[in-house]
Symmetry: C2
Subunit: 277 residues, 2 copies
Amino acid sequence: MKKYRRNQRVGALMKIFTDRPNHIFSYNYFSELFNAAKSTISEDIVIVKGLVNDLEFGKIETISGASGGVIYIPSMNRKEQESLLNDLCQTFSDPFRIIPGGYIYMSDIFNSPYYSHSISKIIASQYSKQSIDYVVTVETKGIPVALMTAKELDVPLAIIRRNSKVTEGSTLSINYVSGSTKKIESMTLSRRAIKEGSRVLIVDDFMKGGGTAKGMKDLMLEFNVEVIGVYVVISTKEPFNKLVKEYNSLLVLDDVDEESRRIIIKPNDDNKIRINN
Amino acid sequence: MKKYRRNQRVGALMKIFTDRPNHIFSYNYFSELFNAAKSTISEDIVIVKGLVNDLEFGKIETISGASGGVIYIPSMNRKEQESLLNDLCQTFSDPFRIIPGGYIYMSDIFNSPYYSHSISKIIASQYSKQSIDYVVTVETKGIPVALMTAKELDVPLAIIRRNSKVTEGSTLSINYVSGSTKKIESMTLSRRAIKEGSRVLIVDDFMKGGGTAKGMKDLMLEFNVEVIGVYVVISTKEPFNKLVKEYNSLLVLDDVDEESRRIIIKPNDDNKIRINN
């Protein structure tokens, strides 16, 4: 069997940790993979811990006990976070994005693997200590960011559908009133999608009136799960009073002026963990 | 400014490459990040090349010239691929998944960050040399695998909608006939989503009659783009003649027997690159 040098093992460890953040890997797993003694792996992990710390990639934690092992909890340093937020604000506020009616074309940003992944790193780092069991979203535009957040937290994603589908099996549905248009809408989730008693994080792309987020929270009540947080990428400044009181948003959309072709969008200065329990 | 040791730089390089496969990073970028001479970085890259090769993580390529740099092209070794396919077949064929009417509940698998990411690695490795500009899918169940494939290939994702949305701006729509139900359906994509003359890879979760895939191909014609491939995670054995002639599928669904509660699903032995041009 092949033997590897230390810097090969260190590189491989970083590759494996990066591929699956927030996942517990056992020392045995690495020991077998690298054909090396556990004591050797322990020394490798010390080096990886140091580099993750020195380069501000987050941290490596060692969990002792039978189900123990090593886990990589990524985080984004302040400089990177600021530069991402500036980039996002600039990209979202390009006047080319204005659609008649005062809407903004955003799909390319939300669907971008680069942006959805980058945003998910910020979201996940705020909830990595909250023992989240599922990330939940509603189709369609929030799916990429929600999926990436679920990947970062190493938990499953549940996607709420707008209509009941035969391939979802038995479902739970609710009707809700859209916060901005006041129309009655419905949402549906397969009963198999989420286990009772779980802790879920709701992630979506956009919040105006908050009706959709409230609908999701209400649907989660039907599943007997605890909503640990509601996180949206963009919330609008107005209306100030939204149907959901506790939520977090990365950016705030202040104004869209069709005539002067100006979009004002800013990082959310209140951006902090809010926990509704 | 901080200086880093070689094994720290090697670990950091693997982290950065894994975070963004198929992306060209310049030597300058690493040189500044690590506060190290380009010659030092070159030596680091040689080590990373070796470890990626020795551990069968894919390969590292150096591109010379003004827009040159270093790129990590991941691949999954045969053993890992076989073990993933076996795991998928076993998971998909759990009798618990049978839904009245002979359908199979699959959403949890398609939405799983772990499975969608793993599947995307196989898909992407087959197209990493094809200069794909976009991955295209249709909402909803194919989105996670399509997004992960786009991430692996470092290209944008375009999501075709079932209905026109005001937030998509001007759109192109087509009507098409579902291959299995013969119903007329429509699909819509924002004109801003894809640039003319691009090369696209279509990715979806499931193909029975092939009507949806054909619809997507027809819609791509309207965008004047070239469809380089159609890849579905699961295709059904019957009907043998599908509305799309050239496609690739990871798994083949052979039979669902509601009475005996048996699902037969197998790796697609023909799994190989098919190029329709």
